[in-house]
Amino acid sequence: MSADVSSAAAEFARRQQSPVQRLQHQLHGKPWLSPLFLLLVAFIAFFISTPTFLTANSMGILLQQTAVVAALAVGQTLVILTAGIDLSCGAIMVLSMMVMASLSKDDGMPSLIGLLLGVLLATGAGLLNGFLVTRINLPPFIVTLGTLSIFTAIALLYSGGSSIQADRLPDLLNFLGKGFGIGQFRLTWGIVVVILIYAVMAYVLSQTAWGRYVYAVGDDAESARLSGVPSKRILLAVYTVAGLIYGIAAWILIGRAGAATPNAIPDANLASITAVVIGGTSLFGGRGRLIGTLIGALIVQTFAFGLSQLGVDQQWRVLATGILVIVAVAIDQWIRKVKS
């Protein structure tokens, strides 16, 4: 085809697009743009309504509150990118937390070994999810619905339902709750770890072959298989890596909560899914960015934190989160229509 014909075609394509369609195209390529916009709007709104909102002190608290869900949401993003879902992430985190705390409480086991065993258990729990999904061919929703109950029950049985306070735990387990200040702005080591997890996994997803396979399997598993992608191995690895990340989240949670408590974050499972979905990752798989998830987690916490600073009843926060989720999925559906 000659150059002027193809440029005429481009011209044709350009003229066809209304501003709304152009926006749709932009969002299609960069699905995290709309959550970023929402986050900015929320920040401005809360800044205008509550003078204390945008202070270094509050920002530090906001980040600390976001850390645990943000960490869980990394694993959740991996799973959702493969068109799966992980309902068991919070349960795995709590089980792992109770195990690492019990093993190393009151100078029991060397703290490093207790910590590693806890993280290893979470990794194994993820592997079990992956095994059931890839080898027994069960839908991820069913698998993780089952393991959600199983891991929750084991955590409660194992811990007897009681918490272990920070003073009975070794320094290593409490370490991620400690931190340093930059002026008024206080960062914990837990936040640093979360940022590291995001950086590493964002690199893996965008710069390595493995990351490409995750998207390929999620977008079209059969085509990926026919193209030579070892689909099952990738899926198994995704659930396992997710488990590992939940184990690290358990460590962060001990620091944040100042104790190992079986019911520390009862809504962690759903909160992580919410963060991923609001962050623009498609529940249908193959589409999304980790940066979106981080923004999504921040949005949820910003609403919660901002509204509580305004003295709004906690139920309004829950309600607002619900609306956000539905709007986010509606936007995703709309963006996906670009294809046809």
Binding site: T208, A209, W210, R212, D219, S223, A224, R225, G228, V229
Partner: protein
């Protein structure tokens, strides 16, 4: 197999190319059977593909053409039967096994990933990494390099309407997607290239380019299996034509010994090869 069976199966060899058929087939299948529940996909099919030949496979819808090549390329594992490459038995469990053995395939459903860009699709499951520690330790992909070489592969096919290798495949037209899939097979096939209806969505000009590419591959010494419903295309490029009917092989003819009408008659069962050849 008896001697008369062989005569029925082979409607001769293309004249002037006899030497090709004195060699060992590069890919050979015997008595392939595959069932899907109660549906019989293949009912004891034989196939021989010689080095440097274009073997067309024709047959009605549902005759088992795609199923046959899926069994040959590891996408399906046949229930029984044997497959050999250069005389050695092979057991492909997955498509990448066949790929590693030098067989590239464009499946009928294309097997491209819509969300990934063209270059990523071309290099899917054979990504190239950066040189030095960035690649070996940090596993970083050589995106620039792959994009550049992907551009060359697509250019070789002469599809100029595809400009940007960073474009997601879902933004391409059906024919352009097909071109991407064909370019991938042509670029990486080292022994055998299998094309399942590669021109189905292509315009006249683009179809011609794919046929030229098939000839180029043959001239390079590769073997091509070409499935097509387009009889003029088949009679133009094929050295031999494998006719598939009702899950079995009705026979093999050459464009010299049989014309299109006869081929179609055998395909539809109006004519039996034993009488006609």
């Amino acid at each position: 197999m008896t001697v008369t069976d062989l005569e029925v199966a082979y409607g001769g060899v293309p004249s002037g190319k006899e030497h090709i058929y004195e060699q060992e087939p590069v890919l050979s299948a015997r008595n392939l059977v595959i069932t899907f529940g109660r549906v019989v996909g293949l009912d004891g099919v034989d196939l021989d593909l010689y080095p440097g030949e274009v073997l067309a496979v024709i047959g009605d819808n549902g005759a088992g053409k795609s199923t046959l090549i899926k069994c040959l390329t590891g996408a399906y594992v046949p229930d029984s039967g044997t497959i050999t490459m250069n005389g050695e038995p092979v057991h492909f469990k997955r498509p990448q096994d066949a790929r590693e053995a030098g067989i590239e395939t464009v499946y009928q459903q294309l097997a491209v990933i819509p969300a990934l860009d063209i270059a990523s699709n071309l290099y899917l499951a054979r990504e190239e990494r950066r040189k030095g520690p960035l690649g070996s330790v940090f596993r970083m992909l050589d995106k620039k390099g792959m994009e550049k070489r992907a551009g060359e592969s697509v250019q070789n096919l002469g599809i100029q309407t595809i400009q940007n290798m960073g474009q997601a495949v879902e933004t391409l037209s059906g024919g352009q997607r097909q071109a991407v899939a064909v370019a991938r097979a042509a670029a990486f096939g080292s022994k055998v290239v299998v094309l399942d209806e590669p021109t189905a969505a292509l315009g006249v000009k683009e179809s011609g380019m794919v046929l030229d590419m098939v000839k180029q591959l043959r001239d390079k010494g590769l073997s091509v299996i070409l499935i097509s419903h387009n009889m003029p295309h088949v009679w133009e490029v094929a050295d031999r034509i494998h006719i598939q009917r009702l899950g079995g092989r009705a026979g093999v003819v050459t464009p010299e010994t049989h014309d299109m009408g006869e081929g179609v008659a055998i395909m539809t069962g109006a004519k039996k090869l034993a009488d006609g050849s």
